[in-house]
Amino acid sequence: MQIKGDKWTPILFITPSIVAIGIFIYGFIGWTSFISFTKWNNVLPDYTLVGFENYRKLFANMRFQIDLHNTLVFTVIFVTSCLLIGLLLAVLIDQRIKGEGIFRNLFLLPMALSFIVSGVIWHWLFNPGSIQMGNIGVNQLFEKVGLNFLICGWYTDPNIGIKAVAIAAIWQFSGYTMALYLAGLKGIPLELREAAAIDGASKWKIFYYITLPFLRPITFGAIIILGHISLKIFDLIVAMTGSGPAFSSDVPAFFMYDTTFRGNHFAQGASIAIILLLLVSLLIIPYLITTFRKEA
């Protein structure tokens, strides 16, 4: 439903936003794409076109290959853990337990923090110390409670690298998934579960045949949101680890910043940015289209 009447005033009022978004989002994306096809890999701009040369170099670059691998590892660990922990916590909190609000607020609190804040803290928690210092951080805690087998080098170990960052990211975002699932659980008609219980369905059956299907759209939405966050992860890497030994915690977003603003390889940075944008678009555009086609 909309109001009939003067057609141009509303359009006039939304025009500044359309112009701003048109220039600062779409125009700039076009501009970045243009730069990615040029020779500008030095302090001074050089707009000589070189075709796909920057992209060819990029995919041949060992660092970028490691980055793509790291992003994949990070995304899989981060998204599945957030979904599983979020679902588990939501289902438990939904059991009319005592202190429901306290648990919910505590688990969601990290969402309010900057990635830089959590990065600084997790940097110290996962600091493996040194031979002189002995164990510090989480390792020291493990030593105290007798979980010595869990002691490891965290982000200083190239085999762990990005996985340590994933743990910090899970700490920050699993409460968010919990909140999404909690809202979904509240939306399931009580009669449905009660009717199934009267028919003699076990708790597990109700969960599997009623609760889970109801939560499917939420899971789908959460995968998109978490997935695009993990493709873009940057702040946490900067504050917690940087590139890490042998680029073991490097990601495309960090590589882009590094090569563009520290190395002055603008065209190469632009090509990384465009690849990153394409990856995010693959997730987001179908989601936007399906979400808003349904509503209209």
């Binding site: 109001i3 509303p10 701003a20 600062f24 994306i29 110290w124 702040d235 989601y287 209209a296």
Partner: protein, 281 residues
């Protein structure tokens, strides 16, 4: 008896997760409170013996002798930045949401979707032109420049929040005031705006938190320490080898304080913004 075993199991699992969520908070608060004599990585898990705020004051004012900058200046930069940016982007969002729900025109749905896309893009894909443009506009490296950036890139989310809110306002109400002779702006001023308090609360709290917590724009738009927001300053503090770890962690708590206070006192609105971010209105 069987039921209470399940209950017990529920509480045990929740307790384990509570430990996981609380550990970083514990370290942040306990370490910040320790005196310098007590601070040692060997005893980082111990409770502080007494309350001591030296780490905070050092993180706040910095030290000329040790040669590092405190966070106080950046804290005020962030305050100076976040207030106008939050208010302006909420106003834009309100106006856009009003048009996109109550005055829809041919192509308005497409425009809405195209605006929304802006909230998902990796900002890496626009930062190079952004820096060049801000330099041309002579606002590069300044707080007004950073405000402009946050207002523009805040348009998608605030438009979404207000659109989702105004969709719940019955259109008949507006039709009625239109018959009474009110025009586009009159309806906004006398009907929509007075109803908008919840929308503004959600949008402004969301924008406050995300602008306060932003790092990438601050890092790239304001490379000079004098106009840096607090997240960038904290990252510099933490990256410096001369700053003790307890001062870094105290700095992290100072940076986290405003959003934590918002979360504690206005958590309901924060949660609503969070839900809207996932597009479910």
């Amino acid at each position: 008896m069987k039921i209470s075993v399940t209950r017990l199991l529920i509480y045990i699992i929740l307790a384990i997760f509570t430990i996981f969520y609380i550990i970083p908070m514990y370290i942040m608060i306990a370490t910040g409170m320790k005196s310098f004599a007590e601070v040692s990585l060997d005893t980082m898990w111990n409770l502080p013996l007494s309350l001591n705020f030296n780490s905070f004051s050092l993180a706040w004012v910095g030290s000329i002798k040790q040669g590092f900058r405190g966070l106080s200046g950046s804290f005020f930069n962030s305050v100076l930045l976040v207030i106008p940016a939050t208010i302006i982007s909420a106003l834009f969002g309100s106006l856009n949401g009003y048009v996109l729900t109550k005055w829809r025109f041919y192509g308005s749905d497409l425009i809405f979707t195209m605006i929304l896309f802006g909230m998902f893009i990796p900002y890496q894909s626009i930062v190079i032109p952004l820096v060049l443009t801000l330099q041309k506009l002579h606002v590069y490296g300044t707080i007004p420049g950073l405000i402009l950036v946050h207002v523009i890139y805040g348009i998608p989310i605030s438009t979404l929040i207000f659109r989702n809110y105004y969709i719940t306002v019955p259109t008949e109400m507006i039709e009625a005031s239109k018959i009474d002779g009110a025009n586009f702006f009159g309806i906004y001023r006398w009907v929509i705006f007075p109803l908008s308090t919840p929308g503004f609360a959600v949008a402004m709290i969301w924008q406050f938190t995300s602008i306060w917590n932003d790092f990438l724009f601050g890092l790239i738009v304001t490379p000079n320490p004098a106009s840096q927001p607090i997240t960038v300053a904290l990252n510099n503090l933490a990256g410096s080898y001369i700053v003790q770890w307890n001062v870094q962690i105290a700095g992290a708590l100072l940076t986290a304080l405003p959003p934590i206070l918002v979360y504690i006192f206005l958590g309901k609105f924060f949660l609503r913004g969070l839900m809207q971010g996932s597009l479910k209105g």
